[in-house]
Amino acid sequence: MKIYGGGKIFVGLIIFIGLATSPFLFNIGKSSIVRDTKAAEIMQSMGLQCVEKKAFMLPNHMRLLDKWRDSVVRKGNRLYKASDGKEYEMSLQNTCLNCHSEKNETCNACHSNMARKHTCNGCHNYMAVNPYCWDCHIKPKETKS
């Protein structure tokens, strides 16, 4: 098969192959790290639980926070009744960050860096998600560990 205008065709094809395989090229020598879900199990076995179940919180926490914000800021209602009947204060800084903080002593009691992995940024940085919580809330100071 004779290729006419060979140079240009091959340059174009090389660019195409480079672009099409770029996800593979960027990941040479790397491998996926599957999250360790043991921490969550340990927390549960210790009777520590989030306001709702994990299966709900993982994909829906941002919606819950959105509802909380509307309820607190627009209606002045700070009382959240969870689906299991328990009541919580709707507050990012006083309820959520109480546990989901890099200073969580229960986590750090076993592994010094454990809590840091499981804060908001632990997943948000990995997923390149940039929520605008700290546009209004005062950002808690991060300490380098």
Binding site: G6, I9, F16, I17, K30, R35, P59, M127
Partner: protein
């Protein structure tokens, strides 16, 4: 018929992914094996199609021009619409690829009060441009799932795309534009009689397929959520050739992935190859220099010519008898 066939073909794809994952538990097949096969077919098929086009000689200059050709020095040349240099061709191609300039000139032909009239028809151009650009942005945005550390320019694109900060998770404008423009591109094939007449299943199928990919993506992000961290783990696993199947991703993701795999396989077999083809359009990518350079057909072969001298040699006797003058006695 052509519409329903394409529609049910996409529905069948969705159902097979649903059944495969939900009932038969074939996560590894739909999450790893099929995507790898699809990527291989896409890349090899794409190369094959381009090489096949490259093997067709285009010996003569056949650009379709719409401007003054390079001529006498006091006649102003249109350097972009009728390029006589490589730089002109590059600008012309860039306008064609990035802004669909030739489609911008699309006209509507109508009979009005017995007269043939031409009117502007920009909607196809607008919807086509909106569709292609939002698809590109969505495609680039997805690289946050392919790279461990998302580069800042992808974060910037995401930030601009979700600039309106509507809802949680924030709404991407391109999601709306993509679904809207694909819907328009579909409806025009249904409601404009002339376009409907020439539309085939091969025109409807990619539209439904892309609509299915867009819809499943939108459902996954805004409505029936999947576990996105696991999705990234799976995708990085694929890209680093260490495939893993994290638990509990959600069937919607596998449907999305299967439709994309179908698109990748279908791509080199179909009109979607215009992605590569647009760069190989001889009517766009050629310099119009027919009056400056002689182009010789590469398959010219020496033709045996029967000259008058040979003719006379053959028939001299008979010609003389008939009284026809001859050059040589």
């Amino acid at each position: 018929m052509r519409i329903l066939f394409s529609f049910f073909a996409v529905i069948a794809l969705v159902l097979s992914a649903y059944a495969g994952v939900k009932i038969a538990n074939l996560q590894f097949l739909f999450g790893v094996v099929i995507p790898y096969i699809a990527i291989a077919i896409f890349i090899l098929g794409f190369i094959y199609r381009v090489l096949k086009w490259g093997s067709s000689p285009v010996p003569f200059r056949i650009p379709t021009t719409c401007g003054q050709q390079k001529s006498l020095p006091w006649i102003k040349q249109n350097r972009i619409e009728n390029p006589s240099s490589i730089s002109g061709v590059i600008i012309r191609m860039a306008l064609e690829v990035l802004l669909f300039r030739s489609l911008f000139r699309n006209l509507k032909t109508q009979l009005k009060e017995g007269k043939l009239v031409y009117g502007e028809a920009k909607w196809l151009w607008l919807a086509g441009l909106a569709f292609h650009w939002s698809f590109l942005i969505i495609f680039v945005r997805h690289f946050r799932l392919f790279l461990q550390n998302t580069p800042s320019f992808i974060k910037m694109i995401e930030g601009l795309d979700s600039f309106l900060q509507l809802g949680v998770p924030v709404l991407y404008m391109t999601d709306v534009v993509l679904l809207g423009s694909v819907t328009y591109l579909f409806l025009r094939r249904v409601f404009i009689p002339q376009v409907n007449y020439i539309s085939l299943a091969a025109d409807y199928f990619p539209l439904f397929l892309i609509l299915g990919i867009g819809t499943s993506g939108v459902l996954m992000r805004y409505f029936y959520k999947v576990h996105i961290v696991s999705v990234k783990e799976l995708v990085i696993g694929l890209a680093s050739l260490h495939p893993v199947i994290p638990q509990g991703i959600g069937v919607l993701f596998y449907i999305h992935l299967f439709l994309i795999s179908t698109l990748l396989v279908y791509f080199p077999l179909s009109k979607l190859m215009h992605m590569g083809g647009v760069f190989l359009s001889p009517t766009r990518n050629m310099v119009n220099n027919s009056r400056m350079v002689r182009h010789i057909n590469p398959w010219n072969y020496p033709v045996h010519v029967h000259t008058y001298e040979e003719y006379e040699n053959n028939f001299r006797g008979k010609m003389k008898k008939a009284g026809i003058p001859v050059e040589k006695e």
